[in-house]
């Protein structure tokens, strides 16, 4: 059996592990554009901040490919044929019995704003970080476009490196994709107290200056002078390869419960795939590293003939921003019941639908929060027992009673 995996990131790692669980003999080829062994994209902010070394970026040990007998080709796939073959940039054809598209997404807003200016950079790849590093000096004025998780991790790292930062986001609160206003404000206050500035609820009209950008012009007319612009917003799934091959795509490549696309033998996983979402049961792109790994594994198992069903994407987020832990899971933005603590500050919200826990936010006080988050996965009835879930200390015994239906 010939397996070809297009893309060399986390979904590819999952697929290799999945295939090798079921098939130790088949030949696996990975075609990846990035000239490095697999690495974990969310680690780039930690690498920028100097918290880990470049070697520490690897998501699996350096001998991962060798150990799993995977052939790696550093090239670009320009086309896939109906017979599942991958056509490389030079015209070379790699035949496959089963093919996986794990090609991720592209930061489109970056492409639109950068226009070949060296000091307008994305925050997506290891290469982006190496370029950012070449500009670093104390007092550097940086504008970060995007107040989501990626933008804020970039901001945190650049703050630690002594730069002066302003974050711009069209939304009126930070991390608007996962947090509610209350939690967003907690994060904003925390980062403001460290000296980071924000312009929220306002869009970017233009990034001006040539050959280097020197200011960001906002929708309000305000001009932010800066030496470096980081665009950390708007990643769009790379569906072109699939679409051109006649595979059904929506926002991402639409896949069934086995991660197989509309074209038999061609699978998709990770940030490019539109797989079943856990709560709604509908197909949705949920770009998260652990989901990419899991989708990759499911795809790999099925490619190797071992029928496996994807359990559905549940968005679970966790990070620490200048020491403040910020977490969310599931349907976290909907109305819910909240608890607020001071000293140390903490915020928790639980969201229910039909008496079942469907969403969670926890900021500040997060000890043992996984016990609560697990109830979402288990679709546990919690009505009448909300107070137990909002107690300052997460009580395992009490909550297990809930899970048992006590």
């Amino acid at each position: 059996m010939n397996y070809v995996i297009v893309g060399g990131s986390v979904a590819a790692v999952g697929a290799i592990e999945g295939i090798r669980k079921a098939d130790r003999q088949g030949s696996i080829t990975v075609v990846s554009e990035e000239p490095y062994p697999n690495y974990s994209r969310p680690l780039i902010s930690y690498y920028l901040a100097g918290k880990i070394t470049r070697e520490g970026m690897y998501y699996r040990e350096p001998d991962f490919y060798a150990r799993n007998r995977v052939k790696v080709v550093h090239d670009r796939v320009v086309r896939i044929t109906p017979e599942h073959s991958a056509v490389l940039s030079g015209g070379q054809i790699i035949p496959a019995d089963k093919l996986l598209l794990a090609v991720g997404g592209t930061p489109l807003l970056y492409d639109r704003l950068a226009r070949n200016r060296d000091n307008v950079l994305g925050f997506y790849t290891l290469e982006d970080v190496e370029k950012i590093k070449s500009f670093l000096r104390p007092g550097l004025k940086v504008t970060v476009i995007g107040g989501g998780l990626v933008g804020l991790k970039a901001t945190e790292a650049l703050h630690r490196l002594g730069t002066s930062l302003t974050v711009v986001d069209l939304a009126t609160r930070l991390m608007s994709g996962t947090l509610d206003l209350e939690a967003g404000l907690l994060v904003e206050r925390h980062l403001r107290s460290a000296g980071i500035d924000f312009r929220l609820g306002v869009g970017v009209k233009a990034v001006e200056g040539n050959p280097l950008a020197d200011k960001v012009v906002l929708g309000s007319g305000e001009e932010l002078k800066c030496d470096l612009v980081i665009v950390a917003a708007g990643v769009t799934p790379n569906v072109d390869l699939a679409r051109n091959a006649g595979i059904v795509t929506a926002r991402g490549i639409v896949v069934d419960l086995h991660q197989e696309s509309s074209m038999p033998g061609i699978f998709a996983a990770g940030d490019v795939a539109e797989a079943r979402e856990f709560l709604s049961g509908e197909n949705q792109v949920v770009p998260r590293l652990p989901l990419a790994l899991e989708q990759g594994r499911v795809a790999g198992m099925n490619m190797a003939g071992c029928k496996t069903v994807y359990r559905g994407s549940l968005a679970v987020n966790s990070t620490s921003l200048l020491g403040l832990p910020v977490m969310s899971a599931g349907d976290s933005k909907s109305e819910g019941i909240t608890a607020v603590w001071s000293d140390p500050p903490g915020y928790r919200k639980i969201v229910m639908r039909n008496g079942v826990l469907t969403g969670l936010i926890a900021v500040g006080r997060v000890e043992r929060i996984g016990i609560i988050a697990d109830l979402i996965r288990k679709r546990t009835l919690i009505s009448g027992l909300e107070a137990k879930l909002l107690a300052a200390e997460v009580n395992g015994i009490d909550i297990r009673d809930i899970a048992k239906g006590a």
Binding site: Y46, I52, Y59, G323, A362, V394, G396
Partner: protein, 157 residues
């Protein structure tokens, strides 16, 4: 391949909630594992890699630590690859040097068995079964045999 999985098994019916297991865990993972006074009174308080739960009505106790899941959520969610599972022993381990402190494992662990401190520059700590000791410190100190080491033999193809 024959496998032996080592686990610390808690028997809540024997647990009195004395908390000695947590204290022993802190000491065993401090710079002074032989000296409880020094361990607890020198510098920062050492982190316990387990906890003792008490029900809100005060009648039930349970000593809780990593149960080394077969398909660990923490491993799947970890962004740094710091968490791995030994296929022969079934043990799930954290490489604290590779941990970046994103706390994904904290929200992923259904047992609540990953510990901080979760503020500042910390890294995730979980039960490591005390590799330096013959018997994990929590088990050795338990006065009521509410904690036991069990070894489960299995075969992996």
């Amino acid at each position: 391949m024959k496998t032996v999985t080592r686990k610390v098994e808690a028997r809540p019916e024997h647990c009195m909630g004395c908390g000695l297991c947590r204290l022993a865990c802190q000491v065993a993972h401090s710079p002074y594992p032989q000296n409880m006074i020094k361990a607890m009174k020198t510098g920062k308080k050492p982190v316990a890699r387990m906890t003792v739960e008490v029900s809100s009505n005060g009648t039930e106790f349970r000593s809780v630590r990593c149960i080394n899941c077969e398909d660990p959520e923490c491993l799947k969610i970890c962004i740094s690859g710091a968490i791995s599972r030994n296929e022969e022993t079934g043990q799930v381990t954290t490489d604290e040097n590779r941990c970046v402190g994103c706390w994904s494992c904290v929200i992923a662990c259904p047992e609540g068995a990953v510990f901080g401190p979760l503020e500042g520059e910390a890294r995730a700590h979980k039960c490591d079964l005390c590799p330096q000791l013959e018997i994990p410190a929590c088990v050795a100190i338990c006065p009521n045999e509410a904690l036991m080491v069990v070894e489960i033999e299995g075969v992996k193809r």
